[in-house]
């Protein structure tokens, strides 16, 4: 039976699948294409027409040289992943695990393991709507002899995203097409969901086309999003070496004692405090090897190699300088300090002493963040548009924490640095910030008990933080990242993340066909549209990871995966937030060097 083609993809003129590659801006630009073909035989020329919203287009336009790596059918999975990868993700090859090689003769990067590679040089371009036709001379070719018995990968095998049970799907499709069952199914489906008239030009434009104004609008945010500078590290392994670690501080320090026990049973634990009774009590409770009164004593003890500092924020500098002077390594609680001058002094002291200074930022080691970053780069949510960070809970700080000059502020300083780090890992570096706040509920503290900030970046994303010690979050994720193809929910302490793809899973897709609508509404559940992704790590928070990383850095005598400059930057961004709060206007965040 003949069916009218609805889009250009129905014409099947997209054929053999290959990867276009060229030297781009600080990366190898890659683009999966099934719309290249030879133009003339002698001299041999080809035509490519890369999508103008991808980094490959400016790369080819600038360097005039590119490669077409024709992929064998056996590379289906990698090409599916490359097609699905985020459009503006730099270094897409690395994200999907493709090997990029360089042809020395022509200075053109290409994909390793291709059936055939064509090295091309642009001769001419022809404008043709939302694509530009590049007419290119073939400079040379390279074959992989061991793959010559394979046929090339076809577009129809990689379109539609990752698929499971491919063999079964093929079998079912063959039976349905041969028996005519497919026609009946299509007719039935169209009865339930009437199709728009088969206007191939309009439908194609609606699904994937763009006019010049639209292209200019899309590309005004850049073909690459280079705003993300931080990457979550791999989960550090538990320590096997014998190390003496002293936890300084008997308040939040007790939490660190427990984390240290979880992070490494091999570490010898010591405790340090000012109050003799309190310190001795904590040492007994956590079964510490010994305890010290005063940080000087702990830092001087030869049994101690590293110290975990959990003191009031304004004491961080003094403690860090003392530890560095003693030649010991320090893991200091966040924020690094209450001002940038103290932060700089701490970093300089560690550098002078040749010791490790690491800031305890659990967000950097939170497994959910690492998993979410992977999903973002893989393209599961498309282009990330909005970040929502919601840190809330009833807390009534007292003592030093109630004094803004010792705390460095209020909830924005205390919780803000965490969510700024999460923002930087998931989205990138903010460029501007606007801040405001609701009424003060806790009048016993001099700092703010709630605040909200809106960060922006010119590459096209915004971030909204709501921080409160005077309201509850309820059963909501603490971090949500929303993109044009899906939304991620990160739950505090959970060992999973939730993905809500724009293209819904099978069950809600099937239920959307149920009529009458009242029955469909009764049957449909929000969770049906959810894909729950389990994390490999049991600990949902990043506390154990951060301590493991500190122990590994000390044991291996190396810099930690997150240097103290990361924490200094978090502080700088939070201080910009305070400036915005004071001014009531959008404030520029100091740019990174």
């Amino acid at each position: 039976m003949h069916w009218p083609g609805r889009t250009i993809w129905d014409t099947r003129v997209q054929g053999v699948c290959g990867v276009l590659s060229a030297h781009g801006e600080n990366e190898t630009a890659l683009f999966v294409s099934a719309t290249f073909a030879q133009l003339t035989l002698d001299p041999p020329r080809v035509i490519v027409n890369p999508n103008r919203t991808y980094s490959i287009e400016p790369a080819i336009a600038k360097t005039r040289r590119f490669a077409i790596s024709v992929m064998p059918a056996s590379r289906q999975n990698e090409i599916v992943r490359l097609m699905a990868a985020r459009r503006r993700q730099p270094d897409r090859a690395q994200v999907v695990g493709l090997t990029i090689e360089e042809d020395v003769e022509h200075s053109i990067p290409f994909v390793g393991g291709a059936l055939r590679v064509l090295f091309c040089e642009v001769e001419d371009t022809v404008g043709a709507g939302d694509r530009r036709i590049y007419i290119a001379r073939i400079l040379g070719t390279r074959d992989t002899p061991e793959l010559q018995n394979q046929r090339p990968l076809l577009f129809s095998e990689v379109s539609g995203g990752p698929r499971r049970f491919i063999g079964l799907q093929k079998g079912v499709r063959t039976i349905l097409t041969r028996t005519g069952g497919l026609d009946y199914l299509k007719k039935g489906f169209h009865r339930l969901k009437p199709q728009a008239p088969p206007n191939i030009a309009l439908n194609t434009y609606e699904e994937g086309g763009a006019d010049e104004n639209e292209l200019a609008q899309i590309n005004s945010y850049g073909v690459l999003d280079t705003s993300r500078r931080l990457s979550p590290p791999n989960a550090p392994a538990p320590l096997t070496k014998d190390l003496g670690i002293c936890v300084v501080g008997t308040g939040w320090g007790s939490f660190h004692c427990n984390v240290l026990r979880q992070a490494s049973p091999n570490a010898r634990l010591y405790v340090c405090g000012r109050d003799p009774d309190k310190t001795a009590r904590l040492a007994r409770a956590v079964k510490a090897e010994d305890h010290f009164l005063g940080i000087e004593q702990a830092a001087a003890d030869p049994r101690v190699q590293g110290l975990i500092v959990a003191l009031p924020h304004d004491l961080h500098r003094h403690a860090a300088e003392m530890i560095a002077a003693a030649g010991k390594h320090a893991l200091v609680e966040k924020p690094i300090a209450t001002n940038l001058a103290d932060a700089d002094a701490m970093i300089e002291a560690a550098q002078r002493g040749g010791s490790i200074l690491m800031i305890a930022e659990d967000m950097h080691y939170r497994p959910a963040i690492a998993a979410a970053v992977k999903r973002i780069m893989a393209g599961d949510i498309g282009e990330p548009l909005y970040f929502f960070g919601h840190a809330a809970g009833i807390r009534r700080p007292r003592g030093w924490a109630a004094q803004s000059e010792r705390m460095g502020g209020g909830v924005l300083m205390d919780m803000g640095v965490h969510y700024v780090r999460a923002l930087r890992l998931l989205m990138g570096e903010p460029e501007t910030v606007l801040a405001s706040r609701a009424m003060q509920i806790d009048t016993k503290i001099s700092g703010e008990d709630s605040a909200q900030l809106i960060f922006s970046n010119s590459t096209g994303w915004d971030a909204h933080l709501v921080l409160s010690w005077s309201s509850l979050r309820g059963n909501l994720p603490d971090i949500t990242v929303a993109g044009d193809k899906g939304t991620l929910h990160l739950w505090p302490g959970a060992s999973f993340i939730d993905l809500y793809p724009v293209d819904p899973p099978l069950i809600p897709r099937m239920l959307s066909l149920v009529r009458p609508y009242s029955l469909q509404e009764k049957l449909m559940r929000p969770r049906f549209g959810r894909v729950r992704i389990k994390l490999a790590e049991k600990e949902g928070a990043g506390y154990v990871g951060e301590v493991r990383e500190f122990l590994a850095a000390v044991a291996e005598d190396r810099a930690p995966s997150s240097p103290p400059s990361d924490a200094r930057r978090d502080l700088e961004i939070v201080l910009s937030g305070y400036e915005a709060l004071a001014q009531g206007t959008r404030v520029q965040v100091p740019p990174l060097p």
């Binding site: 003949h2 009218p4 250009i8 073909a37 030879q38 020329r45 080809v46 709507g129």
Partner: protein, 226 residues
Amino acid sequence: MLAIVCQLSLCSKNPPTQYLPTEYRGHHSAQKLLPEGLLADLANSADFVIPEFAEHLVRSRSVTEATRGDRLTSPYITASQLPSIVGLVLVQTAHRANAMTVSFFSEVAHHPTSLWVSIAKASFTHSLLEENGGRFSIAVLTQKQKETALQCGTQSGRDRDKCAALDLYPGPEGYLFLNGALASTACSVSQSVSIDDHTLFVANILSAEMDSRQSHLRQLLLSDLM
């Protein structure tokens, strides 16, 4: 069976030897292989089986291979640098219709929805396209349509009505569509660019039809024709 392999080029003293079968590559001039008169006779012979793929080469006096009664190997197959899918360009004028096998075609843009096809200037199809104002259709062939591709790629439409042997049906607005193809697409040329001995036709896609009974099959590839 008389098997003659030749390459004649009056245009160039060093004809492209890539069009020769493997055993003759490396010869600077294929004229040395066979007497010139015989080559000319072959090239001009009315019953000489000429691949339309290579028709432009004949017209520029550059013949690839001739085997009387045998199917010819086309340089579009042997010398193609890219593995490509294969289709038929179907052109119709008031007096004639023709089908030509092509592999030099692809998608151009999504707005306007368009594709391109490269056609040798010397081909019959090219002249028909000039005559009918650039209206044609492209039928993308399935892996099971190798014979159709060879039939329409190894004979000239000037000498024989290739469409008579095809299962064609009228598509929208009278465009010729092919039964059994994966899809047939009606196109109208919007711009043409001359590139040496070929013309690049960029054409707007007007409409298309898919054959659901073939949708489980893959496209025919050039390598299937070797």
